[in-house]
């Protein structure tokens, strides 16, 4: 990077001496080695795949690459896995990471744990080709669909247990876990039974979203949930925006950035957020309750994707196998223990591999689940871009 900068500024001459002496030489040596390696790989795999010479970067399933044992061996040889933007307190990631590291002896580097989906994709682009580049991503659907050219197709062993609507046909992205929009609130308010109660005078400065709805997906869905409860449809978010306008006029809107810390401190007392981020165990306070407007089930799922230029292609695929595993200590049940709804939950409920104790702790959702389509999400975002600041400013 610095070299490019220096050369662009015409300082190349000054630095030439120093550069020729070391980094360039290594860079050239590196390129030469990579070329040799690549040609070596392709020639050996074309002459018939014999276990160790499989290039996992090109494999689209574990069976195509020679089975689970081959994958585990190759991943252990890589020894490292780069993940990004997985907060240890989010959806039980702390325990998922530990379990994987212990089980396979592979070290996991979690870059910018509090990063956003867009930052994950930016990292894939900016660190492309380096050993630091993220191997796998856990991203929001809008960002996933906008960047499919960066991902490698892969179908996990449990592929058939993932509902067709929740995966790309070729496995370039696969939804992993998610939840439904819910209103978390401090139990000092008693029991909330309707959305319009929140417009009352006892809720002064109390009601928050999880971020700015033109930037954060959870906030956009918070406005959409209100919209559905106020008689709006998924195609038009205007009713939701109007409701927040009334909330602001009543002095009940709390614009402070809402986090687990602000909930613990008491600054955030009511927040519209995904149900798995609204559990007492997640926010860390015991006097925390959840209300979901009856009949409103607005769902949102994150998705997994593998970086097509992953520096650790086998470890990346082993991680995916682990995340979608239905074992008692597999990714699906571990997510569930973190309050998130794993994508294979319906199948696991029928084949009884689900952790029933964890499943029973989830808030009850009634009504037909609504998932915003890409077009609906874009329309809502565009409407918010034009009207949100005006409505609540």
């Amino acid at each position: 990077m610095f070299r490019a900068v220096a050369i662009r500024f015409g300082m190349g001459k000054l630095l030439e001496e120093a550069l020729v002496r070391s980094p360039y030489r290594f860079a050239f040596a590196g390129v030469a080695a990579a070329v040799l390696l690549a040609t070596g790989c392709s020639s050996s795999s074309s002459s018939g795949s014999s276990g160790s010479s499989v290039n996992w970067a090109n494999e689209t399933s574990v069976s195509a690459g020679g089975g689970m044992n081959a994958l585990v061996t190759a991943a252990k040889k890589e020894g490292t896995l780069n993940i990004i933007a997985c907060p240890p307190t989010w959806a039980n990631y702390g325990s998922i990471i530990n379990t994987f590291e212990k089980k396979y002896g592979i070290t996991i580097n979690d870059a910018i744990p509090d990063g956003t989906s867009q930052q994950e994709v930016d990292a894939v682009k900016s660190e492309n080709g380096t050993a630091k580049a993220p191997d796998v991503l856990d991203i929001g659907m809008a960002v996933a669909l906008a960047n499919t050219s960066l991902f490698a197709p892969y179908e996990v062993s449990t592929w058939s247990d993932i509902p067709a609507a929740q995966k790309a046909p070729n496995g370039i992205w696969v939804q992993d876990y998610g939840g439904y929009m819910a209103i978390g609130y401090s139990s000092k308010y008693g029991t909330i039974t309707s959305l319009n109660q929140l417009l009352g005078p006892q809720f002064k400065g109390a009601v928050a979203l999880n971020g700015n709805p033109t930037a954060a997906n959870a906030a956009l869905n918070g406005v959409m949930m209100v919209n559905l409860a106020q008689g709006g449809t998924a195609d038009n978010i205007a009713n939701g925006v109007n409701w927040f306008s009334k909330l602001k006029a009543a002095g009940n809107f709390n614009p402070v950035s809402a986090t687990g810390a602000t909930i613990k401190a008491g600054t955030t007392q009511i927040v519209l957020n995904w149900d798995y981020l609204n559990l007492p165990s997640y926010v860390g306070v015991t006097n925390w309750k959840v209300f979901v407007p009856p009949g409103i089930a607005l769902g949102g799922y994150y998705a997994q994707a593998i970086n097509k230029d992953a520096p650790h292609p086998a470890a990346a695929r082993l991680w995916e196998e682990f995340l979608y595993s239905q074992a008692a200590t597999g990714g699906q049940n571990l997510w569930l223990q973190g309050g998130a709804r794993p994508v294979e939950q319906p199948a696991m409920t029928s084949n009884s591999s689900i952790d029933t104790a964890a499943a029973s702790k989830l808030p009850t959702i009634s009504g037909t689940p609504v998932f915003l389509t890409q077009a609906q999400s874009t329309d809502a975002a565009n409407y918010l871009a034009a009207n949100w600041a005006k409505a609540v400013g």
């Binding site: 033109t214 930037a215 002095g251 008491g266 600054t267 975002a381």
Partner: protein, 288 residues
Amino acid sequence: MAVAATTKTGARPSRAGRRLSAPAWVGTVPFFAYVAIFLIWPTGIVIVDAVKNPSGAWAFSNLSEFGNPVLRGYFIGSFKLCLISSVTGAVFGAILAYAVASGDPDGLIRRLYIAVSGVLAQTGGVTLAFAFLVLIGPVGLLFHASWYFDFPWGIGLIYTYFQIPLMVLVFMPAIDGLKVQWREASENLGASSWQYWRHVGGPLLLPAFLGATLLLFANALSAFATIQAWENQIPYIVPQQISTALSSEVGLNNVNEADLLALGMIIMVAIVMTGYALLLRRAARWLR
């Protein structure tokens, strides 16, 4: 020249009559290289990318976005916030600076004020928002002042926390520049205190005062972390919208829009700083 060269102190070696020596010129290279890499280059990128579309082609039609009422709203928000916080900060800061300056020039009070102002003028961002949150937030230690969330007055008053000390720092030299002799002369001629301020002190300080106000204005323009921590769910000002344009995860991310907004801010700062330079030149005549 010859005299200077032969004085004992040697503080001013002879320079006149000789060409600038090479080592002296080389000494400026780090500065200009620094400015080029960290100021001129990024500014150039912002300006160029502001008139391109996401695929990299020229799109001068981007500039018409400045007429978009939504985008203009963020600039108006920024302008209001900067105006309120800079005028409030300037008035109170000037009064405070005058009070301190009229005391003992080597006294403890003055040294204390200068030192504390130097620290507080740099206090902003999340730390500042947190401090206010703890005191007057929804569960504030003192009380809950919900109107502090009203834009622009609430956040504007929070900004004065660092604007007033900055005003003290930049305005104090101007007050120190008022010569005692001017006041004595006007009193000898029979002027009242009001007449002195109306015809002598006021006109002398006005350019410095207005200049300092513009500096505060520019200072508030770029402040981002404070308002982002204080009220991040509602975008009011340009830096907040730049953040959205860079990192929106609901499909509204557009780097070129961020560049365009940044270009708008560069223009705003350029206007303000030009005004500042002109006023400073006028003020400097009297404060040598």
